[in-house]
């Protein structure tokens, strides 16, 4: 035998393998014809091609970025974004920064709230803020709606007293001269001299001096001027100032400002006001707020505002896992309000169940598809694809007809005598209904990848296994099945991911016990308008899928997923 074998070896020419080995054993760098290392000239040659390829796909890439990546990024952002509180209540946010959360906040905070709410009410954004905070503390939205109207009157009594002291305080022009720098006033005059309209006025500016000596007044007047000019299109120097401006002026004067440094106009007017201010009759702000709504005396309302004043918040995410952020820290929601964790778990378990039933039903069908003679396989393929050509709603409604208590299936079972007439099965408006209907709808997504993988498994493998002595079952289990695993992986991932985000079918046949997390997301997007929470729920769903995907990769290997040959 040996010499025979040797003769064979000798006769064999070099195989491609041998050639590779020879090339491999030479290790010094190869040089191109011009002497540069081969690697570098190859890289250079490839770079231009890569660039061209990139340019070719650039429009598509851009399209994907804009339509696909951007919405996801936006969703992720929305789930933590919370700028509305600090944007709408900037002064209050600042005033509450040092508040310890016990008792009521200081008077400053009430004043700040009066200014902020007046502005917000003028801009008509106070109700939106109310809705936002209502997610965290139910009931707060009506408080804001009511107060938007009320806080505008804060300082009204003071305003009257100032006007009694000197009617000049009623004059919008006097206020403008007090607060604006001379150049703005000149520019304004010039604008009118040219026959300009109030809309085209140069943007109002605050005088530095006003800002330092009468800070609160300047801040509130600044807001007034800005809104008057840009929201209403009027001239601030011709509009009656808001009442809270008098409140601010009184509070500034009470703080004993260095009026001696005032270099602008109306220094005597200010001096007189400062002298009269302490004697003016005031109602404590707390009391004024109580008159608007006594909820303002509840420290919890203020605590909620303080808690949710940072521009980014974990609140939506906590909410999405049945927790809440309270002034005392993070805690579980009361038992009656916990729904999301249950919903997430249910979505997960039911999606797994649906994936399982799809696999059980889809595997034999895919096998038939791959192994029947092509005529019958085509017919079967049409049957598999038929559901794709029928409206999802029609199919789901058909299941309603089939599954309801007086439906076809129950009728048949009763008729056969399998169940008693008074013990009809509840097959719909519960989890059973959801699983049945969704298995039907998602089945093609399992069958198609399985089929395309099975199609590539030559029948000779099974024959080989049997010729080697394997029974039909062993041949299937040890040879065919392992080769179909990539298809199982692809189909399962597809079905699971589709199921976990499914919405219409659970909505229609799921009743209350069969709905998915997506139904809640839809509710928050279209009904409760709590987009932040919807985004947080969506993000959790996204991360859950990514984690499962990662786990799958670790366990099975993503290379083992094939959608086709």
């Amino acid at each position: 035998m040996t010499d025979v074998t040797d003769a064979t070896t000798a006769r064999r020419g070099p195989t491609p393998d041998d050639a590779l080995r020879v090339a491999d054993s030479r290790r010094e760098p190869m040089l191109a014809a011009d002497g540069t290392p081969l690697k570098r000239s190859l890289a250079r040659a490839l770079r231009r091609e890569k660039l061209r390829a990139l340019m070719l796909i650039a429009p598509l890439l851009l399209f994907i970025l804009v339509t696909f990546i951007a919405p996801i990024a936006d969703m992720l952002f929305r789930s933590v974004e919370n700028q509305i509180v600090s944007d709408t209540l900037p002064r209050t946010t600042r005033a509450l920064a040092d508040w310890d959360g016990q008792d009521l906040p200081p008077e400053d905070a009430f004043a700040a709230m009066a200014y902020d709410l007046t502005e917000a009410a003028e801009l008509k954004v106070h109700t939106r803020l109310g809705s936002r905070l209502n997610y965290e503390a139910p009931g707060i939205s009506s408080l804001f709606r009511k107060s938007g109207r009320g806080t505008g009157d804060a300082g009204e009594a003071l305003g009257e007293q100032f006007v009694t002291l000197d009617p000049a305080w009623e004059n919008p022009m006097v206020w403008a001269e007090l607060m604006a720098p001379p150049d703005w006033l000149e520019a304004r005059a010039a604008h009118y001299a040219d026959g300009g309209e109030p809309e085209g006025l140069p943007a109002f500016k605050l005088r530095d001096e006003a800002d330092t000596i009468l800070p609160e007044t300047a801040s509130v007047y600044g807001g007034f001027a800005r809104i008057t000019q840009f929201e209403d299109g009027d001239d601030p120097a011709e509009e009656d100032p808001w009442s809270p401006i008098y409140l601010a002026l009184h509070r500034d004067l009470a703080a004993d400002p260095p009026l001696g440094d005032w270099s602008g106009p109306h220094a005597d007017l200010l001096a007189a006001a400062a002298e009269a201010a302490p004697a003016m009759e005031t109602v404590p702000l707390v009391q004024q707020f109580e008159e608007i709504d006594e909820d303002w005396l509840d420290p919890d309302v203020w605590a909620t505002i303080k808690t949710f004043s940072p521009p980014y918040t974990p609140g939506y995410f906590l909410n999405a896992v049945d927790m809440q952020q309270t002034p005392d820290g993070v805690e579980l929601r009361p038992e009656t309000q916990r729904i999301y964790v249950t919903l997430f778990l249910r979505t997960l378990v039911m999606s797994l169940a649906i994936t399982g039933t799809c696999l059980l039903l889809g595997y034999p069908v895919a096998w038939l598809l791959a192994n029947l003679p092509s005529g019958r396989a085509n017919l079967l393929m049409i049957l598999v694809l038929l559901p794709f050509w029928t409206s999802l709603l029609v199919r789901t409604s058909a299941w309603k007809v089939l599954l309801q208590q007086q439906g076809v299936i129950n009728d048949t079972l009763v008729w056969i005598g399998l169940i008693a007439d008074d013990k009809r099965l509840t097959l719909i408006n519960n989890q059973t209904g959801t699983i049945i209907a969704m298995t039907h709808i998602l089945l093609p997504f399992m069958i198609l990848p399985l089929y395309s993988v099975m199609k590539t498994i030559p029948p000779s493998y099974l024959r080989a296994a049997k010729s080697l002595g394997a029974t039909d079952w062993t041949a299937f289990w040890r040879v065919y099945f392992p080769q179909s695993v990539p298809g199982i992986g692809a189909g399962s991932i597809l079905v699971f991911i589709l199921a976990i985000g499914y919405y219409i079918t659970p909505e229609l046949v799921g009743g209350t016990s069969g709905v998915f997390i997506s139904n809640r997301i839809a509710y928050h997007i279209s009904s409760s308008l709590n987009w932040g929470l919807a985004a947080a729920l969506g993000s959790i769903l996204l991360f859950a899928v990514l984690i499962l995907y990662w786990a799958y990769d670790r366990m099975v290997g993503i290379d083992n997923v094939k959608l086709g040959g």
Binding site: M1, T15, D17, S467
Partner: protein
């Protein structure tokens, strides 16, 4: 004529020939097969194969070779007739109980298993213990000189290596009968030749019976003890390679095996085992009657290119000769290949050895050709 059973002595080695040697180890008896109920793909197959024999089924594509093999392996059922293995009818035995080794054209190595696992598969399903299994795998790998490749996956092997592993896998459970369906069809010529050699060596060394399917006549001739030439679902001739080449029984076999010149004519006279044939041009030639028996019968005469004599002086006197015109001369190194016009046939090829006594013929030259009557066979028209 009597066919010699292969030399059984050489099966001694690490022999598998547990069964007593017999001439009818595998028997096809009046086997027919139809897939669609309309046409017969295999028509009345009768064949018996001896223990230790290397039998090749040769034939053009679609002639029913694979079908026969699949019936023997148990993947197709015979529509009619009986197949016996070692005396037992096997029509109703499922494939996995037949104990027949099989090598497929596309190797059919399980891609998700390593080479060693592939080889372990038939042993595992036979519940053979681990140590014995490993010994057998090592021995089988050694036999095909692939001992270092046990841990590779099939995809990491070249085509020739995969085919060796497929061979080792078909042999590892020591079957007495191995079927191979065009196992070398996908390989390049050089590899094919070396593997042909290895397969025949292994088969003889182990004393196994091999049924080998190919459409490559060289392969069939070089490897086999006997060749069954298939055409249209029938065995046209079953014979040893030399017999097949030298004495084809009909014009299909003559055409299919090796290169062949044909001339059409009519039998003019039969005497002393020589048939004189009048060609359509009127010329007379001497032939050996194979499929003709009557004067006046149409016949296709067949002569191998290397049996044509261009030097009439070497022929026995009185032999008929033919006029030929040289059309083309091709120098092929070891031989000269010359194309002639003979009796209206423009494609009459002759081959002559490149030897000192042979002349290079010039195109346009007119020569006389002839042959020994027994080299020219008068077959069916």
């Amino acid at each position: 004529m009597m066919l010699l059973p292969p030399d059984l002595g050489r099966a001694a080695g690490e022999g598998l020939a547990k069964a007593s040697a017999r001439d009818d180890f595998v028997v096809f008896e009046r086997v027919q097969k139809s897939y669609d109920g309309e046409t017969l793909v295999v028509k009345d197959l009768n064949l018996s194969i001896a223990t230790g024999e290397f039998l090749t089924m040769l034939g053009p594509s679609g002639s029913g070779k694979t079908t026969c093999l699949m019936m023997l392996a148990g993947f197709e059922t015979a529509t009619h007739g009986e197949i016996r293995l070692d005396g037992r009818p096997i029509n109703n035995i499922p494939p996995h109980k037949r104990g027949i080794g099989m090598v497929f054209q596309n190797y059919a190595l399980f891609p998700h298993m390593t080479v060693a696992e592939n080889l372990a598969f038939p042993l595992e399903v036979r519940k053979i213990g681990k140590t014995e299994r490993e010994q057998k795998i090592a021995r089988a790998l050694d036999r095909v000189r692939m001992s270092d490749f046990g841990n590779r996956r099939p995809a990491q092997l070249s085509g020739g290596q995969q085919q060796r592993i497929a061979l080792a896998r078909a042999l590892v459970f020591e079957p007495e009968l191995v079927l191979m369906d065009e196992p070398l069809g996908a390989l390049d010529k050089q590899l094919r030749e070396s593997l042909q050699f290895e397969i025949t060596n292994l088969a003889h060394e182990l004393g196994i019976t091999v049924v080998y399917v190919t459409h490559d006549q060289t392969e069939a001739l070089t490897m086999s003890d006997r060749v069954a030439v298939f055409e249209d679902g029938r065995i046209q001739q079953l014979a040893t390679p030399d017999e097949l080449y030298e004495r084809p029984r009909n014009s299909f076999v003559a055409q299919f095996i090796g290169e062949n010149n044909t001339l059409l004519g009519e039998v003019a006279e039969i005497r002393d085992g020589v048939a004189v044939v009048r060609l359509d041009t009127g010329a007379l030639i001497d032939t050996k009657p194979v499929n003709v028996s009557r004067v006046g019968e149409r016949t296709r005469v067949s002569i191998r290119p290397e049996r044509v004599e261009t030097n009439p002086e070497r022929l026995s006197p009185g032999t008929h000769t033919l006029e030929a015109e040289v059309l083309e001369f091709i120098y092929m190194g070891d031989i000269y290949r010359t194309r002639l016009r003979v009796a209206g046939n423009d494609n009459f090829i002759i081959k002559t050895r490149n030897a000192p006594d042979q002349r290079r013929l010039q195109p346009g030259e007119r020569i006389e050709i002839g042959w020994l009557p027994q080299d020219c066979r008068a077959l069916d028209a």
